[in-house]
Assembly symmetry: C2
Homo-oligomer: 351 residues x 2
């Protein structure tokens, strides 16, 4: 049963022409315009949505690489010639699915286009029930990155009060929350980021105990020793490569590393070598790779946990919002140069 009017509108799309090697360029994403009928065919069980906010996330670089059975265990490669798939906040225009009706809001996987027809699978989409908080938060704090920080910190790292926590890419969509969760837990937390502005944010806005600009440090290990003279209990890993090498030799006995991302490696044809792995043995360290997809059953519990903190102003969130559909490609590519300050997204439409 459909309830939309039978109108056909233009639908701008960001197409993925071909697989990418090295740093992606703007030419790797092409904007085209097509049309779409704003009514689903009779009998459809899909949902037709208007996309409001589209999310730029580091994992998307993995999807842009040549299909690889290794990385596709976490995220599938993009299909060429069609729009990029990403997370977005969308409004239902027409629905053949019993769980959604016209006007409902949801977040989940959509095409990078103005209108998408989506097929619901387990945890592919979540209905947005709470709208007293910014709707764009459902691409970040209240969406996949928020759940990632929650699952990675609480479930993977098993933090205890008083422990020392280091977060890399700390002002990003996930890192800024991990730092705030660590403070709520009574931990000492230091973050690294790639600019003075981000370091300032970490220390003032997000309440990190300290922070440093990794681009100003010749020796990451020496920097870590400055902030963690007694060593690190928990490392929330977003970066990989040289940073991981430096962290390993600064970990405490029985330390835990939650491997959430390795953004420094995604654009390399050959990943860097990490040399200090014997430390895993010496210090009896746990490295745990995780994906948020394994934790989505805890999403309602996460909302119950985090919404009161947001309403009381005890958790804050910084977004880097690009305006307009055409800004999508540069917003995404900026992630890999650290241009974003906070969670990167772009606005397709405000309602």
């Amino acid at each position: 049963m459909t309830n939309a009017e039978a109108v056909t509108v233009t639908n701008k799309q960001i197409i993925f022409p071909d697989y990418v090697t090295g740093f992606p360029k703007e030419s790797d994403l092409k904007i085209t315009t097509t049309t779409i009928d704003l009514r689903l065919p009779e009998g459809s069980t899909s949902v037709l949505v208007k996309n409001l906010y589209l999310s730029c996330d580091p994992y998307m670089r993995i999807c842009m690489g040549k299909p690889d059975p290794l990385s596709s265990s976490l995220v599938p490669p993009y299909k060429t010639g069609v729009p990029i798939i990403g997370l977005g906040v969308s409004k239902v225009i027409d629905s053949g699915h019993p769980d959604y009706k016209k006007g409902d809001l949801l977040w989940g996987l959509v095409g990078w286009e103005e209108y998408s027809v989506i097929t619901l699978t387990t945890y592919s989409h979540f209905k947005i029930e709470h709208t007293d908080v910014p709707l764009s938060y459902y691409t970040g704090l209240l969406g996949m990155p928020g759940m990632t920080a929650y699952a990675g910190f609480y479930e993977v790292c098993s933090p205890k009060k008083g422990e020392t926590v280091f977060v890399s890419a700390a002002s990003g969509a996930v890192g800024q929350l991990v730092g705030q969760f660590a403070k709520l837990m009574g931990c000492y937390v230091v973050g690294s980021a790639g600019s003075k502005e981000k370091v300032y944010l970490l220390k003032t806005k997000f309440g990190f105990d300290d922070a440093f600009n990794y681009k100003e440090e010749k020796d990451f290990s020496a920097a870590l020793k400055r902030y963690f003279p007694e060593g690190i209990d928990i490392y929330f890993e977003n970066v990989g490569g040289k940073m991981l090498d430096a962290v390993l030799i600064n970990m405490k006995l029985h330390g835990r590393v939650a491997v959430c991302g390795m953004i420094s490696q995604y654009n390399l044809v050959d990943p860097e070598g990490v040399h200090n792995l014997p430390t895993i043995l010496y210090k009896r360290i746990q490295l745990q790779g995780f994906g948020v997809c394994d934790f989505y059953d805890k999403y309602p519990k996460f909302l119950d946990f985090v919404l009161p903190y947001i309403r009381e102003g005890k958790i804050t969130y910084v977004e880097d919002i690009a305006e307009g559909f055409e800004s999508g490609p540069s917003a995404l590519l900026g992630l890999f140069e650290g241009k974003n300050v906070g969670k990167q997204l772009f606005v397709v439409a405000r309602e």
Copy 2:
């Protein structure tokens, strides 16, 4: 209260002259002869033992390196100018400790010498209660390596029936047991070792489903794909470096790696780079470094588990026993060239 005769005897010792870089040589271990009084001083709380079997273990190479705060979290560096410390099976000659009396047998940390005066600390020594099994087993199957295999496989790897298991250095003191534990658990298990003879042992004596000689493989990853077309659930890591790199890309989703040792790295001035760490993220793999010292509270439980299997012939153990005190240095150094077949130890005295 002491109960030994006041006799002074010669005491041969294997002295550690200085810290070692690269592969240790025989000149890095010097045999000297001193004397010892076979009666403890009045009021001593120590135990004086005659050493019967002394154990050669890969971790000892770590102790021979320059003192390093990283590795000393697992094992302390040796002191120079005094005997090497290792694990041994010993007989009590005189005791000032209430838990031991003359004639008792124990295993634990002793000097590489004919007679040692030992001071008991928590889990430094264990009384040998079961002597219907070979006494030398307390340097291996029933001692530290056995407990290592037990804790590493059951506690760290959380194995399930039907899972696929890969063990490197599989014919060694620990590996041969991990393979047998894996078969008892109903797993499929493949081992790697460094000679035809060892591969034969793995397949015939220890019941591994398959085994390969890593020295005959140009491409470790291709070898692993041959034996694990569907991937590896559990990797029991004894080797590190290139082997770890190859294993990582052959792991299954949610695979577990128990990091027990990295013998290929101990003699390197700079450890090799491991390049495939992004796989930890993609496959959501756990790497867990562990030390047997964290599990010694489970030693009685381990004995209850393993002794019946030994008595019923369901677990077997291969030892490489060098004869005589003078054979100690070459026995130890042979480990780093893979000369040992099975658990390496040497006999100081049979009783």
